[in-house]
């Protein structure tokens, strides 16, 4: 299956740069998630790879071969949209065989493809059903089977789970990924859902305002975010603004009102204005013991596996924390608590030139 490479892709619609110099390489057989908020330019990239949209500048290469002159139908890159776009007047089997029919495969090949595909997406019992008779999950699987049956070697998934119920979405994540991986197809999956990306991707590319902000393994993107935006978009973060005061095995940062917090070693200079980001799941809340600052529990929300706490810290605002549910009952609204984190869980960023608030905007 091809290595898909994007080089310096630029695509402008009026004043809006949907792609603003995108460089990205997707490996052979890799499952890559393109993660970003609505309007970041995710779908534009899929359309450019498929050939449905021509970039203003830059090129798309499959296994090193430029695709500029190659028509969409000859690229073997199949796009699956969030609405599935099944033919309503065709049965499941006819939908799946749509590609092979057009390509005029031999009957025998078609039969085998159909049997394989129905088996793969667990629809062997429903080949004669029409899309309107299927549940959301079945429609989604039929659309996937149709894409795979057309002999795709690059699979472009545009929010493939968006139309499904939240709980169903969670249970189908693993299934969709294993389908693509079992066929060895190079897959690019667009999503705005960071949990979905963490769970499904071999690597994640975070995209914002037409630019790729970071590419990495799920663990890298989560634990070592490249920018405050990534820190906050991929799992929520708390932030602390200050100046680098000391650089040893960890970094000391002093805030405007005098508090000092610790973070990982950093490249920023002494005295430089920085932002420290720490995930809400790594932010500890204790009634006793050590802490960077004191606050009052403002709100406690039960979320199932975790509880979500908001703590008001005078002069600094709200700090949030996600802690296991079994600690519910040991903390209540109005409690005085200490906020803490271990230095190796906190990342130091250069203060964004446009300010932190603008940097963190998620839409």
């Amino acid at each position: 299956m091809p290595v898909v490479k994007l080089q310096g892709i630029v695509k402008q619609y009026g004043n809006i740069k949907a792609s603003d110099g995108v460089d990205l390489e997707v490996r052979n057989g890799e499952y890559l998630c393109l993660l970003g908020p609505t309007g970041a330019g995710k779908t534009t990239i899929l359309r450019i790879i498929s050939g449905l949209t021509k970039p203003d500048h830059g090129s798309v290469l499959f296994d090193g071969k430029p695709m500029d002159k190659v028509e969409p139908e000859d690229r073997r890159a199949v796009m699956l949209s969030q609405t599935y776009a099944l033919f309503p007047q065709l049965t499941v089997a006819e939908n799946i065989l749509f590609g092979p029919d057009i390509r005029q495969y031999e009957e025998e090949v078609k039969e085998r493809t159909l049997a394989d595909m129905l088996d793969l997406v667990r629809l062997t019992h429903r080949p004669d059903a029409f899309p309107s008779e299927l549940s959301g999950g079945m429609m989604q699987r039929t659309a996937l089977a149709r894409a795979l049956a057309s002999g795709a070697s690059v699979l472009l998934l545009d929010e493939p789970l968006r139309a499904l119920d939240a709980r169903l979405r969670i249970s189908l994540r693993h299934e969709v990924r294993s389908l693509a991986k079992s066929m060895g197809i190079t897959t690019i999956h667009v999503t705005h859902d960071q949990d979905e990306a963490l769970v499904m991707a071999d690597r994640i590319a975070v995209i914002r305002e037409g630019k790729v902000v970071q590419v990495g393994l799920p663990g890298e993107v989560f634990d070592n975010p490249a920018t405050p935006f990534v820190a906050n978009f991929v799992g929520q973060s708390n932030f602390f603004v200050g100046e680098v005061e000391e650089k040893k095995e960890s970094t000391s940062i002093r805030g405007d009102s005098g508090q000092v917090v610790l973070a990982r070693p950093c490249e920023q200079r002494l005295g430089e204005k920085v932002v420290v980001g720490v995930k809400v799941g790594n932010t500890e809340v204790h009634k006793e013991g050590e802490g960077y600052f004191d606050g009052t529990v403002e709100r406690i929300l039960f979320e199932g596996r975790n509880i979500y706490l908001d703590v008001d810290v005078p002069g600094l605002g709200r700090y949030s924390s996600k802690i296991p549910s079994w600690r519910l009952g040991r903390l209540s609204v109005g409690d005085r608590v200490k906020i803490n984190w271990s230095a190796d869980k906190a990342t130091v960023f250069t203060m964004p030139p446009e300010g932190l608030e603008k940097e963190l905007r998620v839409e």
């Binding site: 908020p37 609505t38 309007g39 549940s135 959301g136 999950g137 079945m138 119920d165 939240a166 709980r167 169903l168 969670i170 249970s171 693993h174 705005h192 859902d193 960071q194 949990d195 979905e196 963490l198 769970v199 799920p218 663990g219 989560f222 634990d223 978009f233 991929v234 799992g235 929520q236 995930k279 799941g281 790594n282 709100r299 929300l301 039960f302 979320e303 199932g304 596996r305 979500y308 996600k322 296991p324 549910s325 519910l328 998620v362 839409e363």
Partner: protein
Amino acid sequence: MPEVSLKNITMRFGKVVAVDEVDLTIHDGEYVTILGPSGCGKTTLIRVIAGILEPTQGEVHIAGKSMKGVPIEERDLGYVFQNIALFPHMTVKMNAAYGPTVKDRPMEEREQTARKYLEMVKLLDKMSMFPSELCGGEQQKASLARALATGAKLLLLDEPLSALDARVRVDLRYELRRITKNLGLTVVHVTHDQEEAMSVSDRIVVMRAGGIVESGTPEQLYTRPRDVFTANFVGETNLLEGWVKERHEGGSWIELRDNSVIMVESCDPQVGEAVVVSVRPEFVFPFTDGLLSRIEYLTYLGTFSRVSARSQSDDLVEFDVPSIEGKLYHPGQEVHLMFNRKAAVVYPRPIEGVSEAVKLE
């Protein structure tokens, strides 16, 4: 004040029974979420409360009065739709002032009311913009301000966050709860998203196939659901099949399909009964002893990793480990698993089979 009471509500569309004899009371000032999969009847139910649909059978009472024949505009309620329904040719402020305007309130009051609620949803700085100039989350905040500005004490939210990005959704659901609680409103909120339901509700009503499965606080439904469907729908869970071998006060033995046994603290079914045991992944632990299982795959979830294993008893068992310990586990590896006996809930084995009983669609 607006207590909402549904009495024996049935709604049929031709042969399809969308809502089947539902009784439900939503108390004054309560935030109730109706949660269920697609097609369970939850949207029909909220439309019946709103008066968009007249039920085939049964009655809706709001604040003690029967709503039979009362149209939506006279029910004194605010309604927010999934598909943002702002007036595109009006500014955000004019949209927010819509309620007071149709009620023909004085100009000054319209202005004040609109400002008050736009400030509450933090949109004051954007009130001169048109809806198309706002992003999705802001549009939905404007819809909320418009619904609040009607002055209604009953707010109906029909999948208000479904059209938004995951990250925006999380921020907005906290706002929803904060604002409605500050105003002391009665809220009925329909959603298919169990996480959303948990984080906003005083009480969750779980629906399936036109009926109510059960209702309870988020904590009750998560920790001690009465129905196995709820156990699986409200958060993920492991379901192990077996039968009750011994039953004692404070500790019962359940024998699994490979004749191994696990201990649970409370068990309603009798000795010899076929059962299914529900234990959430965060209450399963790898140990030196316990149910022998082979790891199939690992899923990275940020601060923790979820390990999926197939037990010797042929159940799929998932457990969570801190991300840094994820490296200690790999597919094919054998582990022994222990279960927190206090966290296990035992159900009689459903007649239709476990997978049918917890089916999501």
